[in-house]
Structure formats: C-alpha cells, structure tokens
C-alpha cells in the first residue's frame, strides 16, 4: 500500500516538474503566436539591397526603392525565386525614384521620380524595356501611387495649388 502511494506521489512530482519546465515555453509560444511571422530568407535578400522604402507588393512581385544613400533605385524582386529582376531602361543616373507601384504580372511598373528640377510620373513596361512619361493634367506634383492588379487603373496623389488631390487614370 505504502509502495503504491509512494509511486503516485512520485508521478505527481514528475508531472509538476514537467509543467514547471514547460510553462515558460508555453507562454513564449503564446506571445510568438501574436507576433507577425517574418520571412527570413527573403528579408535577408532585401537587406542586401541596402536601405529600402516605399514597398509595393503584388502577387509574386515586390517593387521597392532601395540602395545605398544617394544611389537609390527601383528594384523588382521575384519572391518565388528570391531574386531581383532587371529593369532595363528604368533607372537613370540623373533621377531619384520617390515611389513605385507594380501590377500582378510584374509587367507594368509606375514610378514617381525626381529628375532635374521636376517630379515626373512614368510607366515602365518591363518586357518591352520601354519607359514613357504619363502627363498630369491639370499640372501638379505627383507623390504616392497605387495600381490595380491588372495594371489598368492608377490612382495618383497630386499636389495642385497647395491642395492634395487623387487622380484616377485608366492606362492603355
């Protein structure tokens, strides 16, 4: 009888010890569960590009402005391969990109950039390697942009006479 009671006590002590060991782990798991889960492999690749800002995520594509100070460029990352893809003809040494948007196919990028003394809005077609200016009428200074997934509708934040407005453009 006393042997049986001793075994029960031993089991209870063992269970208490196990709970004491596991409790901090369970608490920690709960905390981590509330925190966002980073994607370390992709984030490491992004950090290799230097400082980055103004991300635009669309399907498998992440467009952003990244680089070392003074040499910031538009970058387009293929998230499935974890690699930047070339944007031939888009980045220029005489321009500073300010914001970027990309469509779901990664084919169309719209960029606001500072070039000489003006801020311009351009559309880049990646496979055509073609960049063209999008006129802003009435004249104004563009800043933030947003592109629909099909790349056909563009919303542009434009400053006109001290007021910020939103223009909607249907792209050809």
């Amino acid at each position: 009888m006393s042997i049986a009671r001793g075994m029960v006590l031993q089991r209870r002590r063992g269970a208490a010890l196990l709970l004491a060991v596991l409790s901090p782990t369970l608490l920690l798991t709960g905390c981590l569960g509330d925190q966002l889960r980073p994607l370390p492999g992709l984030n490491q690749r992004l950090s290799q590009l230097g400082n980055g800002h103004d991300p635009a995520l669309s399907g498998r594509w992440l467009a952003l402005i990244a680089g070392q100070q003074g040499r910031q460029q538009v970058q387009l990352i293929d998230l499935e391969r974890g690699l930047p893809v070339p944007l031939i003809g888009l980045n220029r040494p005489d321009s500073q990109p300010l914001s970027v948007a990309v469509d779901l196919s990664g084919e169309r990028l719209v960029v606001v950039r500072q070039r000489e003394d003006r801020t311009e809005l351009v559309l880049h077609r990646r496979t055509l390697m073609a960049t063209e200016r999008l006129p802003i009428e009435p004249a104004g200074v563009p800043r933030q942009i947003s592109l629909s997934a099909d790349g056909r509708l563009l919303a542009v934040e434009v400053s006109r006479g001290g007021i910020w407005q939103v223009d909607l453009l249907e792209l050809p």
Partner: protein
Amino acid sequence: MALVLLLAGCGPLGLRRQPAPPGALGAENREQPALSGDGRLLASLVERGGRSTVLLQDRRSGQVLPLPHLRDHQPHSAPSLSWTGRYLALLIQQGPHRQAVLQDRASGRLLPLMLPAGREPQRLSLAADGRRIAIELLDDGQRRVELFDLSGLLEPDLAPGLRQSGGGEVLP
C-alpha cells in the same frame, strides 16, 4: 468634371482620366490613395476633426463604406487593400506609437500586426490575396523593408477563378 473627362480621352498615350469619387465634405485634401486589387474600392486619407482619417469608397458610386473599428484611433496612414477590399491594412495611433493593424471587413475583426520591439512601421503594402505584407520599418534610424507571412492568420482574398497557390516563403 465634364472638362476633365473631355481632356481625358485626348492624351498622347490614350490615357483616360476619371474623377476620383468626391469626399463627403467636397473639396478637401486627399492623400495616400490605395486601390483594391480589382480596382473597385479606393481608400484615401482625409481630415476629420483635424486628424487624418481613412476614407473607404466604392470608386464608381462614391459610396462611403463604414469602418467603425477605426474610429478614435487617428491619425491613420498608409492604407493598403486586398483584392476585393475585404482586408484593409493601415497604421493607427496607439498611445505614443504607430501600430500596424488589419481590418477584416467581412468579420469586423481588427487584428493588430505585432512587430519586433524597437521597429516603427512607416508604410504598408498588403498582397492582394492577403497572404503576405511588406512593411517599411524605421529601425535604429534606418529605413528598410521586411516581408511577413499572414497565411496562418487570414483566409485568402482571391480573385475569382484564381487557383490556390502555396503561401509562405519559397526560395531556390
């Protein structure tokens, strides 16, 4: 408005301009536009009571869609929408800090997106399917972009007919 539409069709690139849906208070500052992936909804920032407030509208009808959970958390900034606009990611004010949150308009749930300590979110870009989010962070004075996985937190917001594909991270 008619003048804007007339000007629209005549652009050298075949650009068509659409008037943005009017804000509820007429002519006012509107900033940081964000289109849903399908282009149906437009989020932008307007001033309400001297505080920057997100306004979500049907782009064609101008109808304002209610966001009751975001009241009392101004200033808002950096709105970003999923494919149908079911999910709205944005920054809100939480005490002295900017907090990234995600509003699920289908369930009414407001989900805080908890970041590692010491990192202040600046801008957000939500993938149209809601599986990932790119966040521009200020970390020790440096701006950088990091990607986070939301696939365990959200039901995907998929385009009609789009096949399911894996979330998370894929690297070569």
